[in-house]
């Protein structure tokens, strides 16, 4: 039996506002419980709220829901339609969006961290209550966990890119609920779906979906039927568990919030926001591939965050601004871009990775990196690639204020390209290593590399490798 998996995602993105959606209280993460909850958030009686949009009340009782209703959008959300383009190993796919609506977050129930005497109690932290969320709902367009992850990651990149959400999944700023169903391949009708909650990483999202797909297929193959329900993912046991069934579904008694008049977002505002929007990651990636002939995987890496894209472009601009940089035969942009991409993704990337830091916090600025790149092989060729990596380490550590020129001078790393000086060292190495020279002459090509290594060691790596190669070859051949 062949099964088709159908997945739709509901993603809650916490909007990066300084204050809550309907009060002036701060939204900063990690403050002591209830220190960032204003009278509005605690739902003291009599409180009304700040000017905003068209909202509805979703009514239900829960201790962390202070007003007994959540302000959300129901019949007329702020966004309807739209789509997200994802790329997987199978290619490019468009996932349609159903809607995106604004709502307020609830508080949190605390079951731990209470005093001994209160161990049987539940605490309520209302700091998060009233934090603005944008819930983005997709159509059931995804057909595998891989596609769901690609969608979630693309959306994650996008919301961080345009600066509306900081995307920290551990802090719950970006939460995905997955609607999963299975059907026999070729069936037109969708299977009964289950909603999976409590997935706070992409890895868990993948595991949760994979588990759920296996579970549902098993249920059907065993002759059962999938019940519509909400299931909770347990990362410790790597399984989903029933949280509530359709029978427990509440009547939320949605109705327009009488405290909030309808708000008309005018065309001028939309145009202003549009004009202020940065180039989006998909467009930037396409441009990198087209203008700079970058490989798709490099273009993807450079557009993983807006800061990375900005860093890359700034470094490129800085490099182009450094005088007397010779280029290869390709167009200057293409040559520069290839080199800069390599340095940003691989070399700087390694440091960022090792230090668990983001590119926006890199101690090496784009201007400094450009200065270093200008010294390397394709350009001035002042230093070898290997030396350049050492210089980057010194720059990262803040040596000489991170100035590549100063580090090269201070450490005496300037590449030796003087044929006379290199020839002299080559002569010395040949003289001191007669057995190796003999091996080479007997036809062992490896011996040649060994001699090159000795020349490089003698020059402390500063000799221009291609010159060394040519001169050694010439002298040995003579």
């Amino acid at each position: 039996m062949s099964w088709e998996v159908v997945i739709g995602l509901e993603t809650h993105t916490q909007l990066s506002t300084r204050s809550k959606i309907f009060s002036g209280a701060s939204t900063a993460f990690g403050a002591p419980p209830n220190t960032q909850a204003s009278a509005v958030d605690i739902a003291l009686p009599g409180v009304t709220i700040n000017k905003r949009s068209v909202f509805a009340r979703k009514n239900y009782f829960y201790p962390d829901l202070p007003k007994g209703y959540q302000i959300s959008q129901y019949e007329i959300p702020v966004v309807q339609g739209g789509s997200i383009t994802i790329t997987t190993k199978d290619g490019v796919k468009t996932v349609r969006l159903t809607r995106a609506h604004l709502e307020e977050d609830a508080g949190k129930s605390l079951h731990e961290g209470l005093s001994q005497a209160a161990s049987a109690m539940t605490g309520i932290d209302l700091n998060r209550a009233g934090t603005p969320l944008l819930e983005i709902v997709s159509e059931p367009d995804m057909r595998s966990a891989e596609e769901a992850i690609a969608y979630a990651k693309t959306l994650h990149t996008l919301v961080r890119w345009i600066g509306i959400c900081d995307g920290n999944m551990q802090e719950g700023n970006f939460r995905c609920d997955a609607n999963v169903s299975v059907r026999k391949a070729g069936d037109a009708k969708l299977g009964t779906r289950c909603e999976i909650k409590n997935v706070n990483s992409f890895r868990f999202l993948q595991h949760a979906i994979e588990f759920e797909v296996r579970r549902q297929i098993q249920v059907v193959e065993d002759g059962g039927t999938v019940e519509q329900e909400t299931r909770l993912y347990d990362p410790d046991l790597d399984e989903t568990r029933s949280m509530r069934t359709k029978e427990d579904a509440q009547d939320y008694r949605y109705f327009p919030d009488p405290d909030l008049p309808p708000l008309v977002i005018d065309e001028a505002w939309i145009e202003r926001v549009k004009a202020d929007l940065p180039e989006l990651p998909v467009a930037m990636k396409a441009r990198f591939e087209k203008e700079y002939l970058l490989l798709p995987e490099d273009a993807t890496a450079l557009t993983s965050t807006r800061a990375t894209g900005d860093y890359f472009q700034q470094t490129l601009a800085e490099l182009a601004g450094i005088p007397n940089v010779p280029y290869l035969s390709q167009s200057p942009d293409v040559a520069n871009a290839k080199s800069v991409a390599n340095w940003v993704i691989n070399e700087l990337g390694a440091f960022l990775n090792n230090h668990q830091t983001d590119i926006e916090n890199s101690p090496v600025s784009p201007a400094q990196l450009a200065q270093l790149i200008a010294h390397t092989g394709p350009f001035k060729g002042t230093i070898s690639h290997k030396v350049a990596k050492d210089v980057l380490a010194a720059m990262w550590a803040g040596e000489c204020g991170g100035d590549a020129d100063a580090i090269i001078v201070a450490r005496g790393l300037k590449q030796i390209s003087d044929a006379g000086a290199i020839g002299k060292t080559v002569d010395e190495v040949i003289a001191a290593n007669a057995p190796i020279v003999a091996e080479y002459k007997a036809g062992k090509e490896k011996a040649f590399n060994s001699l090159i290594g000795k020349v490089m060691t003698a020059t402390k790596g500063k000799a221009n490798p291609s010159q060394v190669n040519a001169i050694l070859r010439k002298k040995l051949g003579a």
Binding site: A39, A43, G46, V47, T48, N59, K67, G68, P261
Partner: protein, 495 residues
């Protein structure tokens, strides 16, 4: 002197013929003597009030007083008042002390008014007789066997008994105007949005409107000047230029001060079900308005008969949601014993809310429920719009709409408590004003055969408070119903 309207007290305070401390002391003596029989106040604080009175006297001496500085006032207990118990007449909030003040409370304090206490009311402002208060019913100062009207009955009774020259109220379906009528005082419901609802414990958000009680229309204008204003903390607060609501009142009147004013008489207001004494008093008042130069025109208000059912659907729907926050989790009453969370909710709310509040929560929950929403809530909103359109058509023919505030004068305590529908029908002439959001005032215009006051309602289109207040003021200059005071039977008994 102490029982005079604000317009007379203010010059006395300004000229130092009277101090706020003297005035406040004298009124507290009246409150102490009369309140036990009236139950108009739920809380009062002489010491605090005298502190405020001293500050007001200093401000008067320093010459930076407002027209209200030093005037005592009482607030309906639905308004959050920092440092004061704010109970909403409910067991649910029996021991709740407000940590902040409502917008109108702040504004009146800023004007230098002296807060003497919090007034009794129907629980969560749900009622038309002030009998649903957890803290016992309010009595009508004209006859303590009768209700003062509601839900702001504590405020109307306090002003009627001259315990305070001014009080605040809130009007969701008539809760300022109907008790003003039944207690024989003036009560103004401003346009929705003119006075911020910030700090008003919400009953029905789209209808709740704070407003003043006073002896005269002129005093109401002075109070509204302080209470009105834009407040970004209430999204429905209207941002419009400041207005002096007393400006027309100061213009020279002449023999026909209301010349050019067209008064609309809806035939729906003069039909069956209106007490004969009420009809006669309103008719006599109409004669006075004609003498003052006003012309009259008959108008119709289609669907007005549906306003009470529409009101009870919408108000109850909003209330069922607004009162969900009283769950025992964060503040207010919580049941002492319970098995689990659901049990805690059930017992807390069963114990904390009275019968009328529960009835409305049930109605509201029902009309918003899946499968009933369209038939009730949505339909009610559609009819609400039709009613509002009817008023707009009427206002093309007239400036004001005149009629009785309530179909009868005050009824006896307990007379309608067993029949909610009869109680609701007392709001027949007032609820439309809340559904449309337009302003209206109730002023005294006579007495019925039992010696109980009768109220006249003047309604105007949105933001026409000054026109309404001017018409009421000119009527009060020509008549003296507003000067009639109930006898201080209880005060004499106490001595």
């Amino acid at each position: 002197m102490f029982t005079a309207p604000i317009a007379e007290l203010a010059p006395a305070l300004a000229s130092k013929r009277l101090s706020s401390v003297e005035l406040t002391t004298a009124l507290f003596d009246r409150i102490d003597a009369l309140n036990p029989r009236l139950n108009a106040f739920l809380a009062r604080d002489r010491k605090r009030a005298l502190g405020a009175a001293r500050a007001a006297d200093a401000r008067l001496a320093a010459g930076n007083a407002s027209p209200l500085t030093g005037i005592p006032i009482a607030h309906k207990d639905v308004l959050m008042t920092a440092g004061w118990k704010t109970t909403c007449g409910s067991r649910m909030l029996e021991n709740f002390v407000a940590p902040y003040s409502a917008f109108v409370v702040e504004r009146l304090a800023d004007a230098g008014m002296v807060l003497v206490g919090k007034t009794n009311m129907d629980e969560f402002a749900m009622g038309s007789s002030s009998e649903t208060s957890y803290f016992g019913p309010v009595k009508n100062p004209w006859n303590v066997d009768y209700v003062p009207g509601g839900s702001s009955g504590g405020s109307s009774a306090a002003v009627a008994a001259r315990l305070v020259p001014a009080a605040t109220g809130t009007d969701t379906g008539g809760s300022i105007r109907q008790p003003a009528a039944l207690s024989g005082v003036c009560g103004l419901k401003p346009t929705y949005g003119v006075c911020s609802r910030y700090g008003l414990i919400a009953f029905a958000s789209s209808l709740d409107t704070p407003g003043p009680f006073a002896q005269t229309a002129e005093d109401c204008a002075l109070l509204l000047n302080a209470m009105a204003g834009h407040d970004p903390r209430d999204s429905t607060s209207v941002d419009r230029p400041r207005e002096d609501y007393a400006r027309l009142l100061r213009a020279p009147g002449g023999a026909k001060p209301l010349a050019g004013v067209r008064i609309g008489l809806p035939k729906e207001y003069f039909g069956d079900g209106i007490d004969a004494d009420v009809a006669a008093a309103v008719d006599a008042a109409l004669g006075e308005f004609r003498k003052l130069g006003a012309t009259t025109v008959e108008v119709t208000l289609p669907n007005l008969d549906l306003s009470v059912p529409v009101y009870y659907v919408i108000a109850s729907a909003e209330a069922s949601s607004n009162l969900a926050r009283f769950d025992g989790v964060r503040y207010g009453h919580r049941a002492a014993k319970y098995d689990d969370l659901t049990d805690m909710y059930k017992k807390t709310r069963a114990e904390g809310f009275g019968a009328e509040v529960k009835r409305r929560i049930l109605i509201g929950t029902y009309v918003l429920s899946h499968g009933y929403y369209d038939a009730y809530y949505l339909k009610a909103q559609q009819v609400r719009r039709l009613i509002a359109e009817g008023f707009q058509r009427a206002y093309q023919q007239c400036d004001l709409i005149l009629g009785p505030t309530a179909p009868t004068a005050a009824f006896k305590l307990g007379a309608k408590t067993s029949d909610p529908v009869q109680m609701y029908l007392n709001d027949i002439f007032t609820v439309a004003g809340n559904l449309t959001g337009a302003p209206a005032i109730s002023i005294p215009c006579g007495f019925d055969r039992n010696g109980l006051p009768i109220g006249l309602q003047l309604q105007g289109n949105h933001f026409r408070e000054s026109v309404i207040l001017n018409a009421a003021h000119r009527y009060q200059q020509a008549t003296d119903w507003q000067r009639r005071e109930p006898a201080d039977i209880a005060l004499e008994t106490a001595r």
